[in-house]
């Protein structure tokens, strides 16, 4: 008799476990954020209580990120500030050839809170030299 019960396979009811697992998967799938190209982990944005997420997303913004050591990140690549000017000039020529004036472009600046403000102003100056006028300084929401 004992032998019989050992050889018998015990069937666990997996239904609740699978339910919960699917719920977890759905939860993480909804919350996942793939737009990491524009958000470098190196940048620790300064916080501001007035920083509210925009009502509608910007149309094709130029995102420039400035790290604490003064290097800049554009399109997912790291550049020294001099090389950034060449890259932005290339971008300007590309956009102009597609009849998109640089004066209509919006530059989003994500600078580290410990970056030097002189570097931020240098980057803005480079963009102004290339004809860009609209700038947005990005901050993370505090509280």
């Amino acid at each position: 008799m004992k032998f019989k019960s050992k050889s018998e396979k015990k069937e666990l009811d997996m239904t609740p476990m699978i339910d919960i697992t699917f719920l977890l998967i759905a939860f993480f799938m909804v919350l996942i954020n793939f737009s990491e190209a524009d958000q470098s982990e190196r940048i620790k944005l300064p916080a501001s209580e007035l920083a509210k997420p925009p009502d509608k997303p910007l149309v094709e913004p130029v995102v420039l990120q400035i790290a604490e050591d003064g290097t800049t990140i554009f399109n997912g690549r790291t550049y020294e500030i001099r090389a950034l000017r060449d890259q932005l000039d290339l971008y300007r020529r590309l956009q102009t050839s597609m009849n998109k004036p640089m004066s209509a472009a919006t530059v989003v600046i994500r600078a580290d809170g410990f970056a030097q403000s002189g570097t931020v102003q240098d980057v803005i100056q480079i963009c102004r030299d290339l004809g860009m006028q609209n700038f947005k300084l990005r901050a993370k929401q505090s509280k």
Binding site: E11, M14, M17, I18, T21, F22, L24, I25, F28, M29, L31, I32, N33, E36, L45, P46, A47, S48, E49, L50, A51, K52, P53, P54, I66, I81, R82, R85, V108, A111, D112, G113, F114, A115, Q116, S117, G118, V120, Q121, D122, I124, Q125, I126, R128, D129, G131, Q133, N134, F135, K136, L137, R138, A139, K140, Q141
Partner: protein, 160 residues
């Protein structure tokens, strides 16, 4: 007899492979999960360096705010025009609010604020100053003070 038997017998599916895949998916999503803190923007208007034609009327005098830094990049002091303000952003906000009110209130006054931070000042302090002059939160409501913030012209330090 045969029919009866097959109706009562529960069909047991082999779930092992499905659970394997489901767990793999779960692990993938858990690993790539990142908490996203909401981010907001402060607009800064920087028109081209040289205006194409001279303006007929002089634009109103901007409020000039100078920010000095210690050697390590922390804030040493602020100046409203030529008046020293210390390091209090509250005081800065109060002065700007008074000036905006004097010129007709936040909706009517056409005032530019020109920030001139020291080159080695940490950018976080600049953001604090921009926050202070842009508006304030009272009882959960946002009150705008001045939207037109820009950086003062300065000599470039980009190496050629």
């Amino acid at each position: 007899m045969k029919r009866n038997r097959s109706q009562h017998k529960r069909i047991a599916l082999d779930m092992t492979s499905m659970i394997d895949v489901v767990f793999l998916l779960l692990v993938f999503f858990v690993m790539t999960f990142k908490i996203v803190i909401p981010e907001g923007d402060f607009s800064i208007k920087m028109p081209p360096a040289a205006p194409s034609q001279p303006l007929d009327v002089d634009p109103p005098e901007p409020i000039r705010i100078r920010m000095r830094a210690n050697e390590d990049g922390t804030l040493a002091g602020m100046y409203y025009g030529d008046d020293p303000l210390g390091t209090s952003f509250r005081e800065l906000r109060g002065r700007v609010l008074r000036e905006v009110t004097r010129r007709g209130g936040p909706d009517k006054a056409d005032i530019d604020i020109e920030l001139a931070p020291a080159d080695n000042l940490h950018y976080g302090h600049v953001m604090e100053a921009i926050t202070a002059v842009t508006g304030q939160i009272q009882n959960g409501n946002v009150y705008r003070i001045c939207d037109q913030v820009k950086f003062a012209p300065r000599a470039s330090t980009i190496p050629d």
